[in-house]
């Protein structure tokens, strides 16, 4: 409704801008000092040689090397698949949560957030046990007389681990979106002759797009830049961008090249997210997010 910031008597008096700025100042300071400033340093570094002279060679090296192009492609692929995985697992869960009582919802939310309460390393090692050759999945498959497939140290392992962590980031915005849908819309559609599936495709799904978009953006960007879970579950065979930023910075000690890899990731991810949101926004004719 268009009642935001309005009372029955008229428009609310806005707080003075200086008061508002004062309230936002701590957050702005943290972002400016700890995020924007280092980002500039990062960009500046990426255009330098190890000796400090200006150069494009770091980018030329990255873009010229099929290995690194492959790494970038694989990173985006894993991020996209994780996003799709979270949507496929998270959407039914959010739908289920919507109909529950406040009490049940609290428990379900706790369940959803539980992976975030455990250290990333411990959680990843947990998956190592579960997916490993002596783990329960392999045991069940062997008992059934099947040869257990290789579940560890590949994209599938990373995908499983990432969907597990990222699910909450997808479901929570989705819940927000679903909760904002007028509960009489689906009965209204049914009354007009729409069976259950049609109601979902034509009413619920399009109206929850803002939540899906928000969730997808968070999951995609967090996955593209995640390090610990892919490193442990993917092992040396799954090569993702953050891993190379890490090795270039700590092993090879080529900081300018590490900066260039990092910045390529930032630019590509941001570009994709902006394009994606623009696309959805145009389709719906309204601003949904960002």
């Amino acid at each position: 409704m268009a009642a935001v910031g309005r009372l029955a008597g008229g428009t609310l008096k806005r707080p003075r801008w200086r008061t508002g700025l004062l309230l936002a100042l701590p957050a702005i300071a943290i972002f400016a000092l700890l995020f924007v400033a280092p980002l500039f340093t990062l960009v500046a570094n990426s255009f330098r040689t190890q000796a400090g002279a200006f150069t494009f060679s770091n980018y030329a090296r990255f873009l010229g090397d099929p290995f690194y192009r492959d790494v970038l492609w694989n990173t985006l692929k894993v991020a996209a698949l994780t996003t799709i995985g979270c949507l496929l697992v998270g959407y039914p869960f959010a739908l289920y949560m919507r109909g529950r009582s406040a009490r049940a919802r609290n428990w379900l939310a706790l369940l959803l957030l539980s992976p975030l309460l455990i250290s990333m390393v411990i959680r990843a090692y947990g998956w190592l046990v579960v997916l490993g050759p002596n783990g329960p999945i392999a045991a069940v498959l062997t008992w059934l007389g099947l040869t257990p497939p290789q579940l560890l140290y590949n994209d599938t392992a990373v995908l499983i681990g990432m969907v597990h962590v990222m699910l909450a980031y997808m479901v929570l915005p989705l819940m927000g979106s679903l909760d904002r849908i007028d509960p009489t819309l689906v009965p209204a559609a049914k009354g007009l002759g729409a069976p259950g599936w049609t109601c979902f495709w034509r009413i619920t799904l399009p109206l929850s797009a803002p939540g899906m978009l928000a969730g997808a953006m968070i999951v995609f960007s967090l996955t593209a830049s995640s390090f610990v879970t892919p490193a442990i579950l993917g092992g040396p065979k799954v090569k993702l961008m953050p891993y190379f930023v890490y090795t270039q910075a700590t092993t090879t000690l080529d900081w300018p090249y590490a900066a260039a890899i990092g910045f390529v990731l930032v630019v590509v991810t941001t570009g994709l997210l902006l394009g994606y949101s623009r696309l959805l926004r145009r389709g719906r004719g309204e601003v949904v997010f960002g």
Binding site: A188, K190, G191, L192, A194, R284
Partner: protein, 363 residues
């Protein structure tokens, strides 16, 4: 809109709804207990009652959004109790209007036709026609949020009517509108309903609205229908204490039944004999009864048959004069026409009424 006005001859004579012993429990509580109801085709019937009385639950069972725990729901002789809502033919207008916010008004109205696989050309024609009928031509390309509350209400009505439903179901459709618009729109809806002749069930808690629009009113409380009758009967001859107290203002006078009178049934109230109409079987002589008399039907006289009392207070209210008369049976409120003689405070008067304008019920 007068009750005597018959639906037009040209109207389709269908839409006979019958509820037989319909029950529903929600959250362990029986919300609707054994509701029986039958409409005439083309009738405008209102379910009236306070919140929680089961009227909306009843409507949702008619629409199919809730399944009945027991009983039978029939439309034109077809048992639809187990038919899912999307296979019933009910045009429903929700309190929130429930317009699809991501679709234009034209797409909202066309939704039901699309579901019925009506070809595009005919669909466009029908949408244009119904939008013109509700006065929304030119709004087809807008989105619901670009419309005022009254326009949204009309759009919701158009969407419900375009599918030519068996029944038009209105769930408190006027309650989100301001007072003036509410009266105007409800007059429009009644006029439209008379014209197209679709049987209509309105759910409301607004007794004035119910009296103004309905052919018949079913007054509901605690999941049962207390009285189902024409507005005049509901108002003048309430069948139960609840109906009497819920609608308008009423004088409730306790007495004992005294046998048939020349008109209606006689009753001893504080030493005086008055008469009223029992809604059903007349009570046994000597039974404790309560007489219900609306302030508008009481006439004041200097003497004669009736309840004697002293005028305590008079107020000029514009459309009428309100007097309070203290009698042995308690205070009696009287609404006199604006041009009646205003009695003096302290004057001795007799309160009398036509027996057919009052009712009595066992207490």
């Amino acid at each position: 809109m007068s009750v005597a006005e018959a639906p037009p001859e040209t109207a389709v004579r269908r839409g006979r709804l019958r509820l037989d012993g319909v029950r529903k429990a929600l959250g362990g509580r029986e919300v609707v207990s054994a509701v029986d109801l039958e409409t005439e085709p083309g009738e405008f019937l209102t379910l009236l009652g306070p919140s929680g009385c089961g009227k909306t639950t009843t409507l949702n069972m008619i629409a199919g959004h809730l399944s009945a725990d027991g009983g039978v729901i029939e439309v034109d002789g077809r048992d639809i109790t187990a038919v899912p809502p999307h296979r019933r033919s009910m045009g429903m207008v929700f309190q929130s209007y429930a317009l699809f916010p991501h679709m234009t008004i034209a797409d909202n109205v066309a939704f039901g036709l699309r579901m019925r696989k009506v070809p595009a050309a005919r669909r466009r024609k029908q949408v244009a026609e119904v939008l013109e009928m509700v006065g929304l031509d030119g709004m087809a390309g807008r989105h619901p949020r670009q419309l005022s509350g009254g326009q949204q209400q009309r759009a919701a009505l158009a969407r419900a009517l375009v599918i030519q439903p068996d029944l038009l179901l209105l769930d408190e459709p006027f309650s989100n509108l301001d007072a003036q618009l509410r009266v105007r729109l409800r007059e429009e809806v009644v006029a439209l309903q008379r014209r197209i002749g679709t049987t209509t069930i309105l759910v409301t808690h607004d007794q004035e609205e119910a009296l103004a629009v309905s052919d018949r009113i079913a007054v509901m409380a605690d999941g049962v229908i207390h009285q189902l009758d024409r507005p005049r009967e509901i108002y003048l001859r309430p069948a139960t204490d609840f109906v009497a107290q819920f609608i308008g203002e009423v004088n409730a006078l306790d007495g004992t039944a005294a046998g048939p009178a020349r008109e209606g049934h006689a009753c001893e109230v504080a030493g005086a004999t008055v008469a009223a109409m029992p809604p059903g079987e007349p009570p046994a002589t000597g039974a404790a009864v309560r007489v219900y008399v609306r302030p508008e039907v009481v006439r004041l006289a200097a003497d004669g048959e009736g309840l004697r009392g002293t005028v305590r207070e008079t107020r000029f209210l514009g459309s009428r004069i309100r007097c309070v008369v203290a009698t042995k049976a308690g205070k009696v409120t009287v609404a006199l026409p604006f041009d009646a003689r205003v009695p003096e405070v302290g004057e001795e008067v007799t309160c009398a009424w036509r027996p057919s304008d009052a009712s009595l019920a066992a207490r």
